[in-house]
Subunit: 312 residues, 4 copies
């Protein structure tokens, strides 16, 4: 007997977690969002080791505090993120701000005013100058071979408490950045990093180790791209994920990874045969806060398993 | 001086209206959703006459209660909706249920079991038989020429309190259905409606009258399509909308109406030059409940202006 | 044994039909395009009665000559089209032109210059004034009840040979326009059509008759919307289509009709269980000319079956 | 005076290049495709140094021969490509085949049969075993520090003439692969590459040099992602591109790089203020062959400037 679609009733004072609960009984992407929230809660309650992968300009778009909170509450245990997000995170941590801009503007005019645009966000050029001043100094203090996660711990160590890079450093949560060199930060390594050997293969070594842990394995994927693939390919060598949630605005019919169904990943054994999966087709600036708000209200602080020992 | 992007902070017990407020300070579609919620509230507070247009399978997807609530709270003053949504609304009002199905199924197998699919919703064939039994009876009771809104009032009159068709009938809120004949209901008119003359031009006459009222004029557009155009073309003859919110999953670059920017509508004078507009690119099963929850919490019951006299 | 993906080789002087042939051996939407071209050719060779449904601004975008050619070559035997496309077709037939514009413009500025925009197309206001002058005269000459296809034959009769409305009139190909009233043409009926009773239910009667013919039944769907549904719902009463090709830029995961898979239509029995179907996810301004060029080169002029007698 | 939209006329024996020419006079993405073809031809005729960036599964989808042809005809002078495409290219070069599969399948069933799926393409597991056998051997023969383009020349040297890796090696066209480690090839470096130090920063050094050449600079972007950004960020340090064509299925309103307008890149000075740019929103399996066929017919073999000396 199938369940029926239940109509959403909206009341005054409605909590986000209550609405998400209602979503799970409807259809289309509201249902997907509701179901993924429940899977995320199940991941957390079942002692899963959870990867969070982030592509897309989530940090410029105001999502960095959520990322920090997910780390601090123990909701995610390893991150994979793009170099661009890290660059913008450092800028924010240094006090530079992303500004509310517009998408329909004269970009030539912006360039003359030294303003860089990411859709409807403006970033003054000084932000990148500030990052450069910081990284050029940090890179002088370092010496030797670094994976991306080691480099980001070194950077996090030098930032303030509001940065998720600092949280990750303190909690020894690895932040993998396989595209570190594909960012302004990468240009800074090129220019100032003469004493640094960036070795992304070392990241593979670490992430493969993580995939062999004896916990249920879960993953929350924001936007696909390299971060998604980097986690999935590591799992190729291990047993496959038990849980996977994907938030994307891409579509399966274009044939690319970012829109690929999580079922497709089962053919590659990146997910277990019986893995619980949901894809939410939605802008992650909407879906991620909703998802996080649900588990924050339901789980609050995670009953901590000391995954951290893994890194000691 | 531009405003900065503010990071979203999530707390336990977070209310939907609080989160939407935060959304308005971020970027991308979260910002659009936050801004549209504020525009919707402003429409309501400024005594605007508000159209709600609905394309897409919103009724099957569990959104009918929200539509009813919007009418009952006085949040919308006229509807334009597709024939398919009306058909499914009648089915629900008669006690038939939409079921939680799946998208990846064998549709031939479903057809043999007399189950009809709308993406991840299943509708047993009995629902349509039930609607047919009902409409064949209603259509025997009617006689003469009907616009779609008159026909839907006649139908609403005969349904129970949970149906938005009944609410619209009771409050004399017109529900225009320019595609009434492009639905199973239309087939029933074809088969059983020998005493009915369906005259969609009469709908134009009424909606054009509405567009000439001396209130600020607002519109909330779900999914584009004929309902969007039907409101906009009526405004071609009048002064243009003052407010417009659009929720769509279509994109401008395909050149179609459902993805067209609201700015484009200004070139046609369908919107006033200084109209406040926002488009949210998001599945409406997510965005509409969020939007509605915001105004329910902020406005509660609308300080009623008696638009109803217009129809007396 | 599965076929292998074959690499596309490009030669100088390559014909469109040769490239489409190669497409069918690749993947993603190139393969879908190649396969749909072959299905279209099979429809034509198997004496199928073929519907063409058109939503989206195909006429403004320069596709009207292809529509006329499809009618004249006997490639399509009935059309279902939106009122907007008909309005723009009349404008072109009267000598008004759509202009190459831009999408990123100041729409308020355009409105002040009496220019209407459809994405990157500009239409001077005079075009609609010209249409109004024409229709106001035509509507004075008519009297009585009209289905949309009868009204469009009356209009076509009065236009020149380059218009597909004229071709349809001459060949007695019915052009159904279930949204005739949802267009500027509809406004003209409202204003000037006092002697016309527009009866869209009469269109249902005719299209249902067509669906009961004893030919294989085929359909080519451009863009979904009401035209797609109007054909499919008529088939609900008959035996289902044997062939269906769909060109759309919408996606299944939003749950709407325009992006719905053709498999979904099988659950409703709108397609036969073993119907041959392909959906191409592509802007129809690219895909339709490619598709048409393929059959023009392969089939040239269709070995005509006199479907026309049906309408005598 | 604006140009008018011209109707597409289709004739028998129509050449692809003729149709593309017609496309440029229409609207929406057909126009974009036509205009980009002309820009591509202009790039070639103006002695531009041209980057081709490739994200998305173009090699599995049957596009590898086009890539090779573009290199051999001198149409592109540097490539940036994903690790996945390189892995699949090696598989094809070794004689393994991608197969025409289906998207709606049981992926668990596929996994049990050792078949990996990329949307509607099947890849038997043996292909990757074959690649592994090959790379494990190659990696034993190498020693020292390698950028990605050096490593790919080493691999190309060992493959047959049909591989674009071989063409690139012979012509000294650099193929940058900033995500080499984010692929099965990367896993092979991890497992077998103990004598290899992969240094992606060395790629930055080389690509920045290329960006400082005294030619007009052009770029053809397929699908966005890291390859797009890797070229653009190098240009941040130089003078900006003169020409840019982008083929994508992503949309601007999601805020991500792959859908970002090329205008946005001007705010960053990645493009010159007066750069000629067009974005085509289309599946690249359709758009790239059309674009290539146009220049193959118009330009045939490029009047070669010896860019190769740069690498001597």
């Amino acid at each position: 007997m199938r369940e029926v679609v239940e109509e959403i009733e909206i009341s005054e004072e409605l909590k986000v977690s209550e609405l998400i609960e209602k979503f799970s009984k409807t259809a289309f992407n509201a249902r997907r969002l509701g179901e993924s929230a429940k899977i995320f809660a199940e991941m957390l309650e079942s002692n899963s080791f959870i990867f969070l992968t982030i592509a897309g300009a989530m940090v410029p778009a105001g999502m960095r505090e959520i990322i920090r909170d997910m780390i601090d509450r123990g909701f995610v245990n390893a991150l994979i993120i793009t170099g661009a997000n890290v660059t913008h995170e450092i800028a924010e941590a240094l006090g530079f701000k992303h500004e509310k801009g517009e998408a329909n503007v004269d970009d030539v005019e912006l360039s003359r005013r030294n303003i860089n645009r990411v859709y409807d966000i403006f970033i003054p050029g000084e932000a990148f100058e500030g990052v450069e001043k910081f990284t050029s100094k940090v890179f002088q203090e370092l010496n030797g071979e670094y994976s991306s996660y080691e480099l980001l711990w070194e950077i996090g160590k030098r930032l303030d408490e509001k940065s998720f890079l600092k949280s990750a450093y303190k909690k020894k949560v690895p932040i993998f950045c396989p595209t570190l060199h594909d960012s302004i930060l990468g240009l800074h390594i090129y220019i100032y990093g003469e004493r640094i050997r960036f070795n992304p293969i070392k990241d593979i070594s670490k992430i493969v180790d993580l995939c062999f842990q004896d916990f249920p394995m879960g993953i929350v994927i924001i936007g696909g791209g390299v971060p998604k693939n980097f986690a999935f390919q590591a799992m190729l060598l291990s047993k496959g994920f038990d849980y996977a949630i994907q938030i994307t605005t891409d579509s399966p019919q274009w044939g690319g990874l970012s829109g690929a169904s999580l079922e497709e990943a089962k053919s590659w054994c990146k997910l277990k045969e019986n893995a619980k999966t949901v894809t939410i087709y939605c802008d992650a600036t909407i879906a991620l806060p909703l998802l996080h708000a649900y588990v924050v209200d339901k789980i609050r602080i995670r009953n901590i398993i000391n995954f951290e020992k893994i890194f000691s």
